[in-house]
């Protein structure tokens, strides 16, 4: 899915070309999937975006989505990761706390502990029940590096946030929110969940379905309607762009990290020099402290980027994969119908039965397409909102960063102009 970015600036052929693709290492071999501190207080609280985790209580009576129920009545948090060590394995559980005013729930507050496997199960169930709805993505199983770093603090924190976002998105989805499996996930005490998981289609029937799916996949879909062709085209291109944006943003984080590391020395070096001097000590000291302050501001900016922008982009990369899966499932239903129609055309016996089955499949396809169409629109809106607000917030962070640095340097200049008896020159044209 990666596209090699050719070297050369988008805006002309100056010597200031973009870094060539090799330099960007856009081939997926990034060793720098760094995630920074868990200081959630620095995150932008963008109330419109569901990707920003907030406490359930603060969400009550907040913004509603256009096609959502009038008031949010289900609030979920994921926190308190805990490591469990057994003789067989080590794993992490998270506290999943729910607050709700819905009647169908036995109580208004629930607290359970869930592990990643449980989330996986839930997602699988939702996809099965609603094959053409856009189920939110889960964070990956493990960082694709070869070394499984499941218990690294920052990895756990990233995952925790992504899991929280996942549940909130499900809760906000007009259909998925009423899923029975979802309710069980949120409310069943820990022992009960495993019992519940064991229900559902048996192993043999699952295998049967997989075999049929494989056969159909080979056959392919004949006449995909144009609207879904367009959708599919969009999904492919979109996934690719998200992948690139994700990589570019990660690269920016890496470069900024290295910049901060070098910059940390600049202030102290000026301070060291100040110790050698008499008349110059004041000015040098001033410059040194400005540099220190700007360095701190740069670190804050970096943290913001890592904590607010990267997770959103990454989620949408995963959404790309989800959407591809949704398209596949839709196509699968259509392929099923087509193969039955074919059978009907060529078979002479069992025509009654076949016609019935075709009818059912036609309905099924009709439902699936309708569901997808509606959810697609919803997803598009939400995507637009999430991404534009994430980028806008990022831009705002940058503006504030430069404003802070500007203030620092301007106040330094003000002190100098007293001593210097000369008007500080106006900013350069």
């Amino acid at each position: 899915m990666e596209e090699q970015l050719p070297a050369g600036g988008a805006g002309g052929d100056g010597p200031c070309a973009l870094l060539p693709a090799e330099a960007l290492a856009l081939d997926g071999d990034e060793d720098d999937l760094e995630v920074f501190s868990k200081d959630a207080s620095l995150m932008d609280m963008n109330s419109l975006s569901p990707t920003m985790p907030t406490s359930p209580l603060s969400m009550i009576n907040q913004v509603k989505f256009e096609d959502e129920p009038d008031l949010k009545d289900l609030f979920i948090t994921v926190d308190d990761p805990e490591s469990h060590v057994t003789t067989l394995e080590t794993f992490v559980t998270y506290r999943v706390a729910t607050q709700t005013s819905r009647g169908e729930f036995d109580s208004s507050e629930f607290e359970v502990r869930r592990r990643y496997q449980d989330f996986l199960w839930l997602k699988g169930r939702l996809e099965e029940a609603h094959p053409t709805l856009i189920v939110p993505p889960l964070p990956e199983k493990f960082v694709v590096k070869g070394v499984v770093e499941r218990f690294n603090d920052s990895f756990i924190e990233t995952r925790r946030r992504a899991l929280s976002t996942f549940l909130t998105r499900v809760a906000d989805h007009p259909t998925l929110t009423f899923s029975a499996d979802f309710k069980v996930f949120l409310t069943a005490p820990d022992g009960e969940l495993s019992a519940h998981k064991k229900q559902g289609p048996g192993l043999l029937s699952k295998v049967g379905r997989t075999v049929r799916a494989a056969a159909l996949a080979l056959r392919g879909v004949r006449g995909r309607p144009e609207e879904f062709e367009a959708m599919s085209g969009f999904i492919e291109a979109f996934s690719q762009k998200m992948g690139l944006l994700d990589k570019v943003s990660q690269r920016i984080c890496k470069e900024e990290r290295e910049y901060v590391d070098e910059m940390k020395e600049l202030g102290p070096t000026h301070a060291l020099w100040a110790e050698l001097e008499d008349d110059l000590a004041d000015t040098l000291g001033g410059v040194a402290s400005c540099l220190d302050r700007c360095c701190q501001a740069t670190e804050r900016r970096l943290r913001g980027l890592a904590e607010a922008l990267l997770p959103v982009l990454h989620e949408y990369v995963l959404y790309g994969e989800m959407l591809t899966g949704v398209m596949k499932r839709r196509d699968h239903i259509q392929a099923e119908l087509e193969s039955k129609v074919e059978a009907l055309t060529y078979k002479k016996a069992d025509t009654e039965l076949l016609r019935e089955e075709v009818g059912k499949l036609e309905d099924k396809l009709e439902c699936a397409n309708t569901a997808l169409r509606a959810d697609w629109e919803r997803w598009r809106q939400s995507m637009r909102l999430d991404l534009t607000s994430a980028f806008a917030a990022s831009a705002e962070r940058n503006v504030r960063y430069y404003e802070q640095c500007l203030a620092t340097w301007e106040s330094f200049l003000a002190t100098q102009s007293d001593l210097y008896a000369k008007e500080p020159p106006e900013d350069k044209p």
Binding site: C16, K241, E262, L266, A395, L413, Q416
Partner: protein, 451 residues
Amino acid sequence: MEQAAPDLERPLQPAPLEPLGHPDAGPEAAVGEEAEGAPDEEGPGDRTMTENNFCLKKIEISVSEAEKRTGRNAMNMQETYTAYLVETRSVEHIDGPSVLTDSLWRRYSEFELLRNYLLVYYPHIVVPPLPEKRAEFVWHKLSADNMDPDFVERRRIGLENFLLRVASHPILCRDKIFYLFLTQEGNWKEIVNETGFQLKADSRLKALNATFRVKNPDKRFTELKHYSDELQSVISHLLRVRARVADRLYGVYKVHGNYGRVFSEWSAIEKEMGDGLQSAGHHMDVYASSIDDILEDEEHYADQLKEYLFYAEALRAVCRKHELMQYDLEMAAQDLASKKQQCEELATGTVRTFSLKGMTTKLFGQETPEQRESRIKVLEEQISEGEQQLKAKNLEGREFVKNAWADIERFKEQKNRDLKEALISYAVMQISMCKKGIQVWTNAKECFSKM
């Protein structure tokens, strides 16, 4: 041992030097009773620019062009070098027109020759430094190649700066060789070499690490030498750190250019977001390309620091010269004292110091009274000579300290002024960079907010 302390009652004198070998040696070469640093000293006669009065208000010097040349070097091999056009203009009145009076081409090695000459003939002056010979402290985008046009350009500016500094120095500006450097293209090298300055150069000055045990140096010079070492160290470190920071900052800005490209591609598949993404992409490109000007300006700050890095060396050289003079003085005094003692021993017959003659006399018999007399006489002559030399050296030493310290004070003020200005202009640069950043990101934010 006498402390070589400045003697305020003596009339100020420039360091005693041999007059230059050139037949047209002007008034500055003579050792006169002129007050040091009298820039208003006119030459004989009229008010127009005299041959040797090159203070900044009277003339303008510029190194205006650089040209690649090929020629044959000393070993008759083809070489490529850069020649610089040195133009001199005289300014009759303030705000009046400047008239081009001289224009000639010089290469870097000739600048070096000029400077080496000045170092020998004015050891008590902190001689302005030349721009670096080879590019150092470069970050990845800058080339370390001497023929690179950016390097050549910065060197051109550095060479101009060097000439302006010399021309504005109250003593150096009156030097004949400097004048000829600006006015006589051909044969200049021969003239300089004819002065024989290389022979006069104290080779010990080059041996920077050799220590001479000096018993009573002027403490101020010792401290100053220590300061110049520290200054060199701290500025080099600063330049290195700065280069690395510049490198990193370049990377940060340039990667944002990739946002530009991806936003642009993404806009092609979107309907409502299309225009917004295009604009946002454009702003990212603007941001990415803004770093080039920013870093170019910062290069200027680095060059100002470099000048003082090299100035520190010149400062050190003056301290070193004092050390050597003091050392010579102490050696001469020691030598004199030992001769006096020898003489005394011979006269009184007591042997306190070891001498070969003494030993052999002991072993092989006493010398005759006549022999002893003649030896005493020789020694007494040597002692008298030695006393005169010591007096002269002492004088020389005190003069040196006085004149050198005066120039050092001048230099200190210049340094504080220049560096303060450089630091302030660095702050101004940062402010400009911040303002650009605010503008770009505000625009980008608007694009996203509107989508």
